[in-house]
Symmetry: C2
Subunit: 251 residues, 2 copies
DNA sequence: CGCTTGGTTGACTAATCTCAATATGGGTGG
DNA sequence: CCACCCATATTGAGATTAGTCAACCAAGCG
């Protein structure tokens, strides 16, 4: 599956030693001096317990957050209480990019399990970006990647049927877990059926039914939140046709 | 309707004299010297005829484009030919922000009427951004605003019914026309029913039927592409509950 | 160990899609 | 300038999908 999968969140490649993700620095080619400047800007990590808010829609935006460990959801809510989950984020991904536009956070970010994040103060990052062009460019790319991701979700929500959405969702998680060195075909869902449904534009019953259907077909095994992909190729066939056809650079 | 309406595209506030949108420069407070630097970077405008592609998904990304006149759609297509319109852009708005992430354009941009755009070479804009912090910051805001817009569309596609989507769509157009000094309640649609449907995640027949229903209720008058909002307040009530509840800064 | 929350399943309903027939208008070429 | 044609839009009827409501079950937690 391509890296810019419909559901992939922006991958963080700027983290540094403070975040114990030092290796991810190399791709953007910072030298030792620049690395230490970056280290100086990144604040010590913050711990959250399951269910805790990292930030809420409407709060002042000062920082982005890089996830070291844990699993998050972001969501926006409408006046009458409907909630739309806009994404699920895991370690190595970045939260809060939407806050830049208005200096207010545009969504809630909630930990779905105990988590640890690094805070990246935005103004210090941008001024550092002026000294380190590769860093600045990298930031633009991260934001742009989020736009691309969102548009793929629009494709999903606008064009795909329930089964296709679920299949795309499972394959996306699979791909992201495997990119982090976890098993691609055997993982634990961190979110409820309702949250999956909200993200995919489906009701929780439909999510549940569709998972059962996949299981009945022998494609997956569902044990509560424990999912095993037995025939991921069938899921891929299902999604195949409705994926984005754009040539993708794997940068 | 709030400025960060579900469907509002990023508004361009960086244009300058080359684009004959000089007044829009002031909000970000560039001085005379900075303005002329910006002018030097912006390329002469390019004209497109209706139906022409400004860029295509997969093409090398070198520039963003500011729309001077005309009306565009952006869309992504899936392997099996389904097309998702991801947005409609009008004068003063910016196209191409999604190309930064992979150095390839992520969508097609097609003129829905004869149009004129300014080209903003990306690398020159970013290096200028390093000299002019306000400009750099403004770019981050524009990209972030696009993320916020996309997420509102996700809310729309994930949670709203056909009537709510159409109402939100009409009100959004109304608000954007009026922001440009055109009539808020009397305008011409530049796009087909099918394109509206693709954007809203509906079939063209549903779009047509829903418009007819609004007309039967006396809320609007539909004459082909000519739309008049007679009772916009009823449309607002319809959308009211499902709008984003986030406190919005009007910056 | 019972309670609460989350998940599954079934029967029914409502919304939207699909297919099809029919209009309508704009554009083009004679 | 007009007539024709094609693309676009409207409307209807029936099929299909997903949503709703409700019952039941299982798990985790105090």
């Amino acid at each position: 599956m391509a890296e810019h999968n419909p559901l992939t969140a922006h991958t963080l490649k700027i983290s540094c030693s403070n975040c114990s993700l030092r290796e991810l620095c190399l791709p953007i080619g910072l030298n030792r001096e620049e690395m230490s400047q970056l280290d100086a800007v990144i604040r010590q990590s913050r711990r959250l317990k399951r269910g805790e808010y990292l930030f809420r829609a409407g709060e002042a935006f000062k920082s982005m957050f890089a996830i070291r460990t844990g699993f998050f959801k972001t969501c926006i809510s409408s006046h009458d209480g409907r909630e739309q989950v806009t994404g699920f984020q895991m370690s190595g991904e970045l939260l809060g990019l939407d806050g830049v536009s208005s200096s207010l956070h545009g969504c809630d970010a909630i930990a779905l399990e105990d988590a640890e994040v690094c805070e990246l103060p935005f103004s210090r990052m941008t001024s550092l970006g002026r000294d380190i062009p590769t860093l600045q460019h990298h930031f633009f790319r991260l934001m742009s990647r989020e736009i691309v991701r969102d548009q793929s979700v629009m494709l999903l929500l606008g064009n795909m049927k329930a089964e296709e959405r679920l299949a795309a969702f499972l394959l996306n998680l699979s791909q992201r877990f495997s990119a982090r060195g976890f098993a691609a075909n055997d993982f634990i869902l961190r979110m409820s059926r309702e949250e999956i449904g909200s993200f995919l534009g489906l009701k929780l019953e439909t999510v549940s039914r569709t998972l059962s259907k996949f299981q009945a077909q022998g494609w997956i095994i569902v044990e509560h939140k424990h999912i095993q992909l037995i025939q991921p190729e069938n899921l891929k066939t299902l999604v195949g046709g409705c994926q984005q056809s754009m040539p993708i650079a794997t940068t």
